[in-house]
Amino acid sequence: MEFVIEDLAVARGGVCVLEGVRLALSPGQAVILRGANGIGKTTLLRTLAGLQPALRGTITAPPESIAYGAHADGLKSVLTVEENLAFWAAIHGTSGIEPALVRMNLADLRDRRAANLSAGQKRRLGLARLLVSGRPYWLLDEPTVSLDTASVALFADVLRDHLAAGGAALIATHIDLGLPEARVLDLSPFKARGGVIASRGFDEAFL
C-alpha cells in the first residue's frame, strides 16, 4: 500500500502556505523534506497526520498507518521511561517495549523518571514511541533535535531497519542523517503565491 499525496494545499492561520504538493511514498522509501524556516513543513506534516484539514487535494494512505513524531514528545515527567513507553504501546495495542528500549539505547534508564532525563535522552524516548506504535508510515518533524552525533547515527540505523522491514518515512530535517538512499523533496517550488485565502471551499473569500 502506498502513501500518495496529490495536489495538496495546506494553510496556517487561515493563510495558504503550500499548494500543489505531490508525493508518493512506497514501502521501503524515505523522503527528506527541505525548505526555509516558516515554509510550512510542520503544517504539511500535521495535515498529513490528520490533525488539521487540507485546503485542497487528497491524501491517500492505508487506514491507521501513520505515526506522527512532533516537536513535543508527549512525555510525562513524573512517569518513568518504562511507564511512558508502555503507555504508548498499550494505546497502540502493541506489546513488548523491550526491543524498542534496547534499540534506542534506553534499557539502563528504564526506571528513571522522564523529568530526570537529558534533552537528548528525552528525544530518544520520544523516538522509541515510533517503534512501539507498530505503524509503517513515520512522519517526523525535526527528529534529531538535541541528539548528539552518536545518537543521530543510532537513529539512522533504526530508520534503515524500519525501511528494510517495509516501513517508510517522511522527515523534515536540516541535518544530514547519513541516509544516502533517501530522496530529497524541496518544498520551495510549492510555496503558495498570491496568498490564496483559506475559505474551506465556499465562495466566501472575504475579498
Partner: protein, 218 residues
C-alpha cells in the same frame, strides 16, 4: 483505554494536587460559611444542603483546566488524536479519571462536612447519593468546558464563566434532593432528573468535547 485511565490516575497521584486540592477547598468552604453566617445550628442546618453542593461544585471546578491543558502543552494530545483509540473515548476516560480523583473524594468527605454544618440526620444518605449521581455529570460537563478553552493562554477564568452556567441544573436538582431528603419529603423527582442530566451529559458531551479538541488542535 484502560492504560489511559491508569496513566491519568498515576499522574494525579504522583504530581499531587489532584486529590488534595479539591478536598481542601471543599473543607475550607464548610469552615468559612459558618464563620460568615454565624454559629446557630438551625440556620446552618437550613443552608447546609446548598452550601455543601455549591462547595462540591466549586471544588470540582478548580481542577478542570488540568484535564486537557497539561496533555495539550506537552504534545500528548496531538499524539492521542492520531492514535488508534477514538478521541471521544479519550475524553470520556479523562473525564472519568477526573471524577475518580476529584468527585469521588468529595462524595466520601461530604458526610463529615455535613456534621460541621449541622445537616439533619435524614439528609446524610441523600447527600451522598445525590453527589454520587451528580458529580460524574459535573466532570463530563467540565471536560467540555476544558476542551473549549484548551488552547487559550488564560483559559482558567473563562473556563469558570463557561462551565458554571452549565452547572445550574445539576446544582438545583442535587441540592433539592438533599433539602427534601433532610426535611423528610419525597425525593424521587429531583433524584431522577439529576441522574438523567448526568447520564445525558456522559452520553452526549464526549462527542462535543472531542469536536472541540479537534478544532483546537488544528
Amino acid at each position: 483505554m484502560i492504560a489511559l485511565l491508569i496513566r491519568d490516575l498515576r499522574l494525579a497521584l504522583r504530581a499531587g494536587g489532584g486529590f488534595g486540592l479539591g478536598l481542601a477547598f471543599f473543607l475550607l468552604v464548610a469552615v468559612l460559611v459558618p464563620l460568615g453566617v454565624g454559629p446557630e445550628g438551625t440556620t446552618l442546618a437550613k443552608i447546609a444542603p446548598g452550601v455543601l453542593w455549591v462547595g462540591a461544585l466549586l471544588a470540582c471546578l478548580l481542577s478542570l483546566d488540568r484535564i486537557f491543558a497539561l496533555d495539550f502543552e506537552d504534545g500528548t494530545l496531538d499524539l492521542l488524536a492520531t492514535a488508534p483509540i477514538p478521541l471521544e473515548g479519550v475524553v470520556a476516560i479523562k473525564a472519568f479519571a477526573h471524577w475518580l480523583v476529584t468527585g469521588l473524594p468529595l462524595v466520601l468527605a461530604a458526610p463529615v462536612l455535613g456534621v460541621l454544618l449541622h445537616l439533619p440526620q435524614a439528609g446524610y444518605g441523600w447527600l451522598v447519593l445525590s453527589l454520587l449521581l451528580g458529580t460524574p455529570g459535573l466532570s463530563a460537563i467540565g471536560a467540555f468546558g476544558a476542551a473549549l478553552t484548551v488552547g487559550l493562554k488564560r483559559g482558567g477564568l473563562l473556563l469558570s464563566l463557561l462551565v458554571l452556567p452549565l452547572y445550574v441544573p445539576t446544582l438545583i436538582f442535587g441540592a433539592e434532593v438533599v433539602k427534601r431528603g433532610a426535611a423528610g419529603m419525597a425525593v424521587e423527582v429531583p433524584l431522577l432528573l439529576l441522574a438523567g442530566i448526568t447520564l445525558g451529559a456522559q452520553a452526549a458531551l464526549p462527542f462535543a468535547s472531542a469536536l472541540a479538541l479537534r478544532i483546537n488542535l488544528r
